[in-house]
């Protein structure tokens, strides 16, 4: 009854909720769009199939409805393949088959009785938007974080308004029930779990643009992708994080940081105002005289200030001549020095040092191609680090003068659309044997090379589509014929390719603030992550480093990659984290400007000055 192939795919769902945003203009999963529970989206169906494979779910009314509402339209295959390389349609088919087989065998369909709590919840939000059906609950019980075991909530509720949230909090307090809030229904770091009530904000998705004040007012179910798309229509940009993450969730949890933080800052810098429902069910906004001071920072783990029901965020102006630019560099030190210099000079709206893994993974539509490209970047082209920036023509001219060799928009597009050819061995061998004093990438980026590169790479949507499964090639060719899909600015604003970093394995990201003028310390931290990762046999890579605050500080990400279904990987990551933690604590205590993200959790609204200038 259970298909092993489908089970394996289902067990690898990364829970990034990318199937809950329409990032490829394929439309959304029709059932998910209508029913809002995670369970009706491909992500939830994957979890349900995993649970069925482990005999954890009875045949319930919810399960039958979830199976029946899947139309096998195939949108999930396109969306998920783009990010993870997986083809979940097989799981969707297997789930339908499983339920149909159970029904044809006349197995009893269990109806889960409504209890007092559920009755109260349904009184608040309506029958449809609160449930205790295990088929739905189970999709809020897992995440890929390996050190967190499954934890089933008692109820899931989808409020539509602030008043409903107040009522739910009061009701939970009356029943003595714990509750957690999920912006987009997902969890990836093992934090948002409860035995009580899960509030999923997926129905609260309104966005109001205040054109005069350059402010967007959003509800807690609004994702980064949806907000960026909306403000872009008005010629603006917002500083947001991963596309499927909700903006309010990010604001409260870690504060928003991104490559745009070079110009837009972090945490409180982007926040005009916010409205909360606190744990006693009282509503406050940050401009209330008696409101808690959540701009302050305490160097300890603290609970969130409440449920964010609305946030007003800054919108930033854009210019028509903005483009992205990549600066290839032979060493990490050179890249950090350049990024810092640019930040200090206020050059570049977005700015970051990227590792080879990020770049190759982001650009490649398949894992196999990413591996080849990554190897070629370092071994053949001598590119060990890359500085990425977005700027207007004046900023780009300055960077070209400062760095000499750059990959502009035109070359990037050529490289991306010709990526499968770039990965071919003939190129690699020729460049690898280059003996001059120049780095190989310096030749590669010469303008005289462009016609030759075009001849060699045959850059086109079709060429790039050649890297994916045959039946998806037409789709990819159409997709990559859209200019934004190879536009560095758009890709960096919407970040739809950054989720690819977890394509081959689940990623555990270590994020911390560092002093950018202490490259020795940055390298020591990278070295620590590498040493411990290598010791425990965990694949590890430098992620990115984004300057901020005029190059005084930076945000550093270092990533560990593990198989989320492997017990031994879970043990190893546990040991590694236990070993890393005291070392980072020591560095944080000794050196100004180092701040671990774990202390900022739930204090994302704090002023950066309070946690970075201590």
């Amino acid at each position: 009854m259970i298909s092993e192939q489908a089970r394996q795919i289902a067990s690898q769902c990364r829970h990034y909720a990318m199937c809950k945003i329409d990032f490829l203009e394929t439309g959304l999963c029709p059932a998910g769009e209508k029913r809002h529970y995670v369970s009706y989206f491909p992500q939830g169906r994957m979890d349900i199939y995993s649970a069925l494979a482990n005999n954890l779910l009875p045949l319930t009314e919810g399960l039958v409805d979830i199976a029946n509402t899947c139309t096998l339209c195939g949108i999930c295959d396109k969306q998920c393949h783009f990010v993870t390389g997986m083809r979940p349609l097989k799981v969707m088919e297997a789930l339908k088959r499983h339920v149909e087989a159970s029904l044809s065998e006349n197995k009893a369909v269990t109806k889960i009785e409504e209890d007092a709590v559920l009755k109260d919840l349904r009184k608040i939000v309506g029958t449809e938007w609160a449930t205790n059906d295990p088929a739905i609950l189970v999709t809020y019980a897992n995440d890929p974080f390996p050190l967190k075991d499954m934890q089933m909530p008692g109820y899931v509720v989808l409020p539509r308004t602030k008043d409903e949230i107040v009522a739910i909090v009061n009701m939970a307090n009356k029943h003595g029930l714990p509750y957690v809030v999920r912006g987009n229904g997902s969890s990836v770091f093992g934090i948002v779990f409860t035995d009580g009530i899960v509030l999923d904000m997926n129905r609260m998705k309104s966005i109001a643009i205040d054109r005069d004040n350059w402010v967007a007012a959003i509800e807690p179910g609004v994702t980064s992708f949806d907000l960026q798309k909306e403000v872009q229509k008005h010629g603006f940009r917002v500083n947001v994080a991963e596309p499927a993450a909700t903006v309010c969730g990010n604001i409260v949890c870690t504060g928003i940081f991104s490559t745009w933080s070079n110009a837009y800052g972090v945490a409180a810098d982007n926040l005009i105002n916010a409205e909360f429902v606190d744990s006693a069910g009282h509503v406050f906004d940050l401009n209330d005289v008696g409101a808690p001071n959540i701009f302050a920072f305490r160097n300890e783990m603290v609970p969130p200030p409440g449920i964010c029901t609305k946030a007003h965020v800054r919108m930033y102006p854009t210019t028509k001549d903005e483009q992205g630019l990549l600066v290839p560099l032979g060493t990490f030190d050179e890249a950090v020095a350049l990024a810092r210099d640019l930040s200090a000079r206020r050059i570049g709206v977005a700015l970051a040092v990227l590792g080879g893994h990020y770049l190759s993974t982001f650009m490649s539509p398949s894992a196999a191609l990413a591996d080849k490209v990554k190897e070629n970047l370092t071994k053949s082209l001598d590119i060990n680090s890359m500085v990425f920036m977005v700027g207007d023509r004046y900023a780009r001219d300055a960077v070209k003068k400062m760095a000499g060799v750059t990959i502009d928009d035109k070359l990037f597009r050529m490289l991306m659309l010709g990526l499968p050819r770039l990965a071919e061995d003939e190129w690699a061998e020729l460049l690898r044997n280059f003996e001059g004093d120049k780095y190989a990438y310096e030749i590669f980026c010469m303008e005289e090379m462009y016609p030759l590169l075009e001849a060699a790479l045959s850059p086109s949507p079709e060429t790039l589509a050649g890297a994916v499964d045959e039946d998806l090639r037409d789709f990819y060719a159409q997709l990559y014929s859209r200019p934004e899909m190879t536009d560095l600015v758009w890709l960096n604003m919407f970040r739809i390719i950054s989720s690819r970093m977890a394509r081959h394995k689940h990623v555990i990201a270590f994020i911390l603030y560092v002093p950018l003028d202490r490259i020795d310390i940055i390298k020591e931290i990278n070295g620590l992550f590498k040493k411990v990762g290598d010791k425990y046999g965990i694949e590890n890579e430098f992620g990115f480093l984004t300057p901020m605050d005029f190059g005084k500080r930076a945000i550093l990400e270092y990533d560990y990659y593990i198989d989320q279904t492997s017990r031994s990987d879970a043990e190893r990551i546990g040991k590694a984290m236990t070993e890393i933690d005291p070392e980072l604590e020591r560095l944080s205590a000794d050196i100004k400007g180092i701040k671990l993200m774990k202390y900022i959790l739930s204090q994302g609204c704090a002023r950066k000055e309070h946690f970075l200038y201590r």
């Binding site: 032979g330 061995d425 003939e426 061998e429 020729l430 044997n433 280059f434 003996e435 001059g436 004093d437 120049k438 780095y439 030749i443 010469m446 005289e448 090379m449 016609p451 030759l452 075009e454 001849a455 060699a456 045959s458």
Partner: protein, 387 residues
Amino acid sequence: MTGGTGFLGSHIASELLRQGYRVLLLVRPNSQVSAHARVEQLLTWFGISPKDKRRLKVIEARMDQPDLGLTQERYADLTNTIDEIIHCASNTSFSERKRTEVERANIEGLQHILDLAARSKCYFFHHLSTAYVAGKKSGPCREEFVETTSFTNVYEETKYYGERILFEKCDDEGIRLNVYRPSIVYGSAEDGRSLRFTALYYPLRTILFLKNLFMKDIEESGGKRAQQMGVKMGTDGSLHLPIRIEAGNGNGINLVPVDFFIKAFMEIMDTCLEGSVFHIVNERSKTIDALVEYTTRYFNLEGIEAVRTEDFDKQSRNGLEILFDTYVDAYKPYMRDNRIFSNDKTRSILEKKNIKCPDLDYELFSKCMQYAIETGWGANLFGKQHQ
């Protein structure tokens, strides 16, 4: 012996085995393919018989570490075993940005091997150097150690300083020393086989790459990019690649085939027992004109020409020329060479056995190119396995 998996080192090791020597190779560990596996692959390529292989011993050693990365016991064992050392391990990169690695291999590595020689019962040190330790100069270069301070690249420089250390140390320790200085070595004159496809091969490979690229562009995509680069179909199916190569005013390139080098090395090693310096070079350098003619004929090309410096207007360079020029930049000093390597000592030994350096004529050039292309410029040297 060190460097036994390199181009010249592997030829020497194989010849030693064929001639009945007992050989101990110190081979650098490699995370992908074990030292033994790499040696085995090479011996198969050379066709060494199982009987001859029995006289070979392979030890993994790190030349960049003072103790060669060996345990005390292993190191002590070595010192009791060695009679003669042939040091071929070297980093042959010309690139300044690789200076640290090149210095580590060519100076520090050499020092560590010399320490081993001094602490062992080694009585004869054979050192593989290069004729180009002469550095930047014109005219005659003698077969002896000559002080100089100016070099074309980091390879020449580090090989020079290596020699200086070598002469002092061997003199101090009373170890006899032969220094073998070849010029540029390419494939075998007998059958065109080679293990390495840099130096002479690299510019040719670049030309062939460009040819294939633009042929494909013309045949499959209408030739728009070819046209942008001034590339077009020539007469009789040839391709017109407009590349002028600045040939300078030198004597041409000094090239020796690897089989000649090996014969010369073995003969010198067998004959010269008091120790000396030997230039293993070609008495007739090959002009760039001749190489261009071979290349265009072999690859069916037009438009490539060698131009003297005074006739070459750099301002008017086209995209292909800029590109080709950048690619072969590192090799330019050898294309415009005015150094003349005296080889009296070498000749006096080789003449007795009638060993002569063959000329690189078109037939030999063709043989070498055929082998290079057949093996994918080294990628398919060992069948399906990669280099």
